[in-house]
Symmetry: C2
Subunit: 353 residues, 2 copies
């Protein structure tokens, strides 16, 4: 029986890493086994849940931020069953995690049954198809349409925050607007280029992934939004830069007066550096937590040596770990990583729509 085996492995891992007694372990294993036989599932204790969520982060092969895995704050909201209460739970997550800019890595865990959050991230900008092309975030076009079908009406702007879409059981999903005071954003300006702020760019403070599932000891938490703080390149070298996202490099290069006809002027590379510098500068000036890719790589190096000292192999996905800006200036670029998947972990799941 798959669940039982995974439960046993997890409980053993938990007891061995937390140095509990053999006696307690045996009792807990018996309890878990009994619950699974009886009900088809079991409930994690709050400590097991916390451990599972933290180790899930430690095992996230694509994540460069794992040095801080033990600091993950775990909010247990498994008791909530109504859309309204879950919405309140999400607002609490946003508030607690945002923390006025001093971002706290946080996960909120909802019931292992029947709760789904449809959003990719709790805060994310809408994308609208118009006659003149896409307005807003092209990555959100499909989900924005879904929200509109469910009755939402966007403003048609470049940075409209999407509503939270919460589904319980097989009921119609319900939409909730996030009150403005919950949404911390950072207008992007540049330390030297005065014109930069007139591009009207901004980004939200906290990336809160809400469409992945957390798997712990055979139990799936389909609704378990988690967040860290941003690494600057996620915004500056991807969200605002990719030509299928906000595609700002041509505009920035033009404003910089670069020769955008010749590839070898390196105008894309130059515009990219300035955009990333602006992102880091703006977040720092606003005292919103962010990390640059060089510092993040150094932190990841410390994570690697911590893990080695703890006698654990570091698994990793090289293609995600290397930053999209100057990757060869980090140590990550120059070594291979084993992409074996460990558990507990955060995994993709089928979209509910």
């Amino acid at each position: 029986m798959a669940m039982l085996n995974e439960a046993i492995d997890f409980i053993k891992l938990y007891y061995s890493e937390t140095e509990r007694s053999e006696e307690e372990l045996v009792r807990r294993l018996a309890e878990v086994e009994h619950d699974i036989q009886e009900n088809g599932f079991y409930e994690h204790t709050i400590d097991e849940l916390k451990f599972g969520a933290q180790v899930g982060w430690r095992n996230s092969n694509k994540c460069i931020g794992r040095l801080f895995w033990q600091t993950l704050q775990v909010l247990d909201r498994r008791e909530l069953t109504s859309e309204q209460d879950i919405f309140q739970g999400l607002l609490e997550h946003i508030d607690f995690a945002t923390n006025g800019g001093r971002i706290r890595p946080t996960i909120t865990i909802f019931s292992q049954r029947n709760v789904r959050i449809w959003n990719h991230q709790l805060i994310r900008y809408a994308g609208y198809e118009t006659a003149d092309g896409i307005v807003g975030d092209p990555d959100s076009v499909e989900f924005t349409k879904k929200c509109e079908q469910l009755g939402w009406q966007g403003q048609g702007g470049r940075f409209d925050v999407l509503p939270l879409v919460i589904q319980v059981q097989e009921r119609e999903p319900q939409l909730f607007d996030i009150p403005a005071e919950y949404i911390l954003e950072v207008p992007i300006r540049h330390p030297e280029f005065e014109w930069f702020k007139d591009l009207g760019l901004k980004w939200y403070a906290v990336p809160m992934i809400s469409n992945m599932k957390l798997e712990v000891g055979g139990i799936t938490y389909a609704a378990a939004p988690f967040n860290g703080w941003y690494m600057g390149t996620e915004i500056g070298a991807r969200n605002l830069a990719d030509d299928y996202r906000y595609n700002m490099l041509p505009t920035i290069a033009e404003k910089m007066g670069l020769n955008t006809v010749s590839n070898s002027s390196l105008w894309k590379d130059r515009a990219l550096v300035e955009l990333n510098a602006a992102v880091l500068y703006s977040y720092k000036e606003d005292e919103v937590s962010i990390v640059d890719h060089h510092t993040a790589a150094q932190q990841f190096k410390r994570f690697e040596s911590n893990e080695q000292n703890a006698g654990r192999d570091v698994t990793g996905n090289w293609t995600w770990l290397i930053p999209p800006l100057s990757p060869a200036t980090t140590h990550i670029f120059h070594k291979p990583y084993d992409n074996e998947r460990k558990t507990p972990n955060y995994l993709y799941q089928k979209a509910p729509y």
Copy 2:
């Protein structure tokens, strides 16, 4: 019998892609089979050899330059048996490929038996361990020591071209200095920063890989140096930039007056862009062939669609294909590649020392 099977596959591939008659194919297969049974090997015709070397390039999963695979010039030097003659063959390669700066992608193929070139590239800078650290190219330290053991005496400079080391059969390898007039180099200067030229940086014009083997139809050519022209990032984002190579970023950043204490000033990224701009500028001004990474990616895209049109799958190694500067600005970053290994191909082989 492994060689026979590979020979048959290759001959069939050659005949099908060159649209020769079934009759000719059958005759050639019989011939090859006979030779292998009789002698344990066979000789490629010059056309087979050319096809094999070109398709080997087409199949090089790590190479972004494959659009031009059909233009590879193949110099057949299989008849040469003495070290002195092979040295002359290498000089001819250098001369033909360099072509005064209008670089020609070229391969010289020596005998399938008993010839080894010890050098990593035909032109490469020495690296010396000194009391004050490494002088020259740290990547060459081991090979430089080997040359010294064989009697070579370097000048102890940062850019001393290593001698050619040629081994025939089990004889002592022989060393040959490359006459200066064969070595085209480009002093690196910057279009705007006057001080840049005073860093005293230069690089050679033509990267000629000489330590890989070419495998064609079951036959191994252990000595088959090949070259294209440089993609700028190989020099600007790796050879001169990596901290375990020429490690120039701190010096350049300092000259630029950047804040090298703070990672988030992006001083490494800024210095890297200027170094790469300088490399492209210098090669272009000297009319030495070079390609920037954006143009190379566009050319690779054309290669991909050519291959698709020809009904062939494109294999590729993502981790090598993405450029080390602004990788996410190229289409390559945003799609997966299948790293299956096809044959003919260029492969690593054990160093002879």
